[in-house]
Amino acid sequence: MNVERRKVAIFGAAAAVRFLLFTCFPGLPDLLTGRVEISTPVTSFKRLQEGLFLYNHNVSPYDGGVYHQAPILLPLFALLPSSQSWPSMTYLLYILVDILSANALMKIAKSGEGGSSSLYCSPRMGKKWSGYAIAAAFLFNPFTIATCIGRPTSVFTTCAILHAISKAVVGSSFTSMFALSIASYLSMYPVLLFPPLILLCYDRRGPKQQNDSLLSFVSGNVMGVGGFLYSLFHMSYIITGSWEFIESTYGVQLLLPDLTPNVGLWWYFFIEMFDSFRNFFLGVFWLHLSSYVAGLTIRLRRQPLFVIITLLGIFAIFKPYPSISDTSLYLAMLPLYRHVFPLMRYTFLALSTILYATLLGPAFYYLWIYAGSGNANFFYAITLVWSLGLSILVADALFAVLRDEWEVERPEMRGKEIRQI
């Protein structure tokens, strides 16, 4: 009972904070919706409103350059009362999604997958945070709160990814694959999480599937994901009446026609890129993004959850339209590996770089766009610093986990200086 009360207290406090922000500062939601750090062309709430308006007036939202989000969001939001006349319904939906995400995160923490997976048990596993602390760290992270108030649709992807993981750690691969399909359907890039996620499911599979070989297990689930995606696509086809949504949602992520600034590295690179090399570098960037999957999955075979976390961190830096919502997901997952924190070497550097970029980013954007006293390079430089800070954090956490694994092999090396050869 006490446990339930703590959970309710955390969720209630998080919901209250968000609701207060929504209601006490009526201008805040629209202000944050307009921020490029929160809303990207593929997640913006304002663009969703436009798509919804066109959808309600029988104009195909995909026959235009504004709406690039998944078709299923249209009937979903059409069912809600209009966000202009009844904004509180939309607020409640976004608060609910955040709490569902936190709940899933809590389940992952409770499973103890972070400290001891089925193939590996960390010597430091005792040192961990409770699920409540982890959920609170997610819910009260300013990035998460800002994302919730700004209402981008990336929160649905976040929720789906967290649910996919929370189902995988209890071994229900079917539900997990379903959640992963929804996440991939909403934003495409989560499909890259399939290899580590399927290994996580395999490691935690139930007694019924105990005799399945890895190959048959994987192929079964590949077909499952394929089936889910196909049915989602077909449903979208029925909703919109044509297949043009594929080009307008996934095509935009692949080919980057919309160069609106964001916290990532792609937009300025492709503004300045020479026309003849644009397609080549689009290929290189996507290849770079997906190249991490195989390497990390193989090297960290014993800790697939950490592969997922690291990949989420990498996506938050290198995907075409990243936002602080992706960063907040990575920062929410990282405390699951609380026990390796003492092994990290550059936490201070990484965190202060991220803090520096967080504070200076909006200022430099203002100087460029509104004051006119700075140019595009100001904001671009800050996105470079932000990306560098995050990648130091990701690499450092990876180092800590690898060192943790290594110390199982050589327990005598605990606390000693090491080097890589």
Partner: protein, 592 residues
């Protein structure tokens, strides 16, 4: 061989000429040409000059390539591109409806700033119509020395509610007609567009009212508009159709400015003797002058000073007996015309026309005169203005203010907006307010959203505006950021947004064009950006790749890389090299 061919061609031409001359007496009956210049003074020192040139040709002779008064160059383009009706406009400046009243021709011959073209093209399918439109724009581009070939798919729309065919088309062709509309708001209309325009006239600017037209004066005007309209006119109930081409030029000249001599065009301070001061002011003295209010005084002007040269007789082809020059001033105003011209005064009391002597120069002189009577200004149907709202280079809004000045009549109109793709319109923010109250006054709407780099936005709204009311339309948009090669050389000047077209029945009035500043990247550093971004990516890839493929060892197990080890290694390499070198030298010595 060549001579032979030329001879055959000559014979052909001769026989054609013979045929033509036989056809002319017949043709004169059905084709005519007339031209007229209307002058009207506006506000204290402005003069509106409207030139109108119109010629008809029968459709049958047009189809047989017998053009007569119809310009051959344009006629062949129309035939080649299967264009049944054409409207082309070149305009500059802003018509100040508040003080100048209704537009010339009620707005029917007006275009938006820059170049505007719309045409009804006959084609079986949309693709074929697009092809013919491309042919048409490219050919017209060559003919008028304008960048009409830049009217591509992003600048072309197919209006649904705006624009009605002005000509009479048979119902069978009407089904296959495609209306296409394109604008170039950035095009600067210039002398090079006037010269081909004049060449289309039968008298080519050598005689008649067209001899007044001069690029220096026309493009120095406060507002000017050149138009070409080609449309078929059929008598109801008969199959006898005419093809009519109407060319007009309207300009609002600043009298002060036009009178400035061409050899001394720079305005200089007026010398003390020429200053016209208000002597009634008590502070007036030899070094203080309050300018005299000249509103009650009608300015003095002479036709040849205003246009740079006198009117050179009449165009002999305009033989329909219509007086070629008219001036709209009260009868009380003194107007002196040159010898040989006959003045005809209109009953309205505000208009007089002149019949010219065919081969003499014509001149009008209006002396300075104090006169309280003014010719009345016609009230426009609708006042329209449009501007940007909001600030910053990220997003903004557009506000259009439309006022119906009539105290009795409601007006229904279609508001057409053509926006470039990089101005991302949010239609859900479109709001219409009538007299400050938000009301649902939009009767009908057609919206075609923009596609990045493929087509622009097309928005048509039908609104009924009650008498004596003001409608304010607002909507939000977001500014896209472009690839750096997509910016023009003067990127920070901004991008021109085509005027909104307001169609009221068969006339169309325009707002001014707008200048949209977009956020710009730094154009000087593509290499730096490529290098810096790649560095960050390489760094993080390097971090992770290193961690994934290298082994951990304790620090004392690894090779020591201290200074001593390096020194020893370098020493060893040096010794080895030295010993080899010495060995070789001693060998060489033996050989000697």
């Amino acid at each position: 061989m060549w001579g032979n061919k030329a001879l055959v061609a000559m014979r052909l031409i001769l026989s054609l000429l013979l045929l033509l001359s036989a056809a002319i007496p017949h043709a004169t009956a059905s084709s005519d040409y007339h031209e007229q210049l209307n002058l009207r003074s506006l506000h204290p020192s402005l003069l509106l000059a409207s030139f109108n040139f119109q010629s008809n040709t029968s459709l049958t002779s047009f189809e047989q390539q017998n053009f007569r008064y119809f310009p051959r160059s344009l006629g062949q383009i129309l035939q080649h591109a299967n264009t049944r009706e054409l409207h082309l406009r070149f305009s500059l400046g802003r018509w100040d409806a508040e003080s100048w009243g209704a537009r010339p021709w009620g707005g029917a011959r007006e275009g938006g700033t820059g170049v505007e073209l719309w045409a009804w093209v006959e084609a079986e399918s949309d693709e074929e119509a697009d092809g013919r439109w491309l042919t048409l724009t490219n050919a017209l581009s060559g003919l008028f020395c304008a960048s009409l070939n830049f009217i591509d798919s992003t600048r072309t729309i197919r209006p649904v509610m705006s624009f009605e065919p002005a000509g009479n088309h048979s119902s069978s062709t009407l089904d296959n007609l495609h209306l296409l509309h394109g604008t170039l708001p950035r095009e600067v209309v210039c002398t090079e567009n006037l010269t081909p325009f004049l060449k289309l006239l039968p008298c080519k600017g050598k005689a008649g009212i067209s001899s007044l037209l001069d690029g220096h004066k026309l493009f120095d005007a406060s507002w000017q508009s050149m138009s070409i309209d080609v449309k078929p006119i059929c008598e109801p109930g008969s199959s006898d159709c005419q093809l009519q081409i109407t060319q007009t030029i309207d300009m609002v000249l600043d009298l002060q400015r036009s009178k400035r001599p061409r050899d001394n065009p720079i305005p200089r301070p007026v010398s003390y003797e020429e200053l016209r001061c208000d002597l009634s002011k008590d502070y007036h003295s030899h070094d203080t002058c309050f300018p005299l209010d000249a509103a009650a005084q009608e300015e003095e002007w002479i036709l040849s000073h205003i246009f740079g040269h006198p009117l050179k007789g009449t165009c002999p082809l305009a033989d329909d007996g219509i007086d070629p020059v008219c001036i709209n001033v009260p009868h009380a105003r003194h107007v002196y015309a040159s010898e040989g011209a006959h003045e005809h005064k209109d009953e309205s009391g505000y208009k007089r026309c002149f019949a010219l002597s065919p081969d003499k120069d014509f001149e009008i002189i209006l002396p300075q005169q104090e006169i309280s009577e003014k010719s009345p200004l016609e009230q426009p149907l609708l006042y329209a203005e449009r501007s940007f709202i909001g600030y910053g280079q990220e997003s903004g809004g557009v506000q259009a203010i439309l006022t119906n000045p009539s105290s009795t009549n409601a007006i229904e109109f279609v508001y057409l907006e053509t926006l470039p793709w990089f101005m991302k319109l949010y239609l859900h923010t479109l709001k219409a307010k009538i007299n400050g109250v938000e009301e649902d006054i939009i009767k009908e709407m057609y919206y075609r959203p923009a596609l990045d780099r493929k087509r622009g936005t097309q928005l048509e709204i039908r609104i009924l505006i009650p008498a004596n009311s003001t409608v304010v339309l607002t909507y939000d948009f977001e500014k896209a950021i472009l690839r750096y090669t997509e910016y023009p050389p003067d990127a920070n000047r901004g991008f021109d947004i085509a005027p909104a077209v307001i169609t009221i029945g068969d006339i169309a009035i325009r707002t001014t064009s707008l200048l949209l500043p977009l956020p710009t990247p730094d154009f000087s550093m593509p290499y730096n950006v490529i290098i810096l971004t790649s560095t960050v990516m390489a760094l993080s890839f390097g971090f992770i790749y290193n961690l994934l493929i290298r082994r951990f060892v304790a620090i004392d197990e690894a090779d020591q890389w201290d200074v001593r080890a390096v020194r020893l290694k370098v020493l060893a390499v040096a010794q080895k090299f030295m010993s080899r070198f010495l060995e070789k030298r001693s060998k060489d010595g033996k050989d000697d």
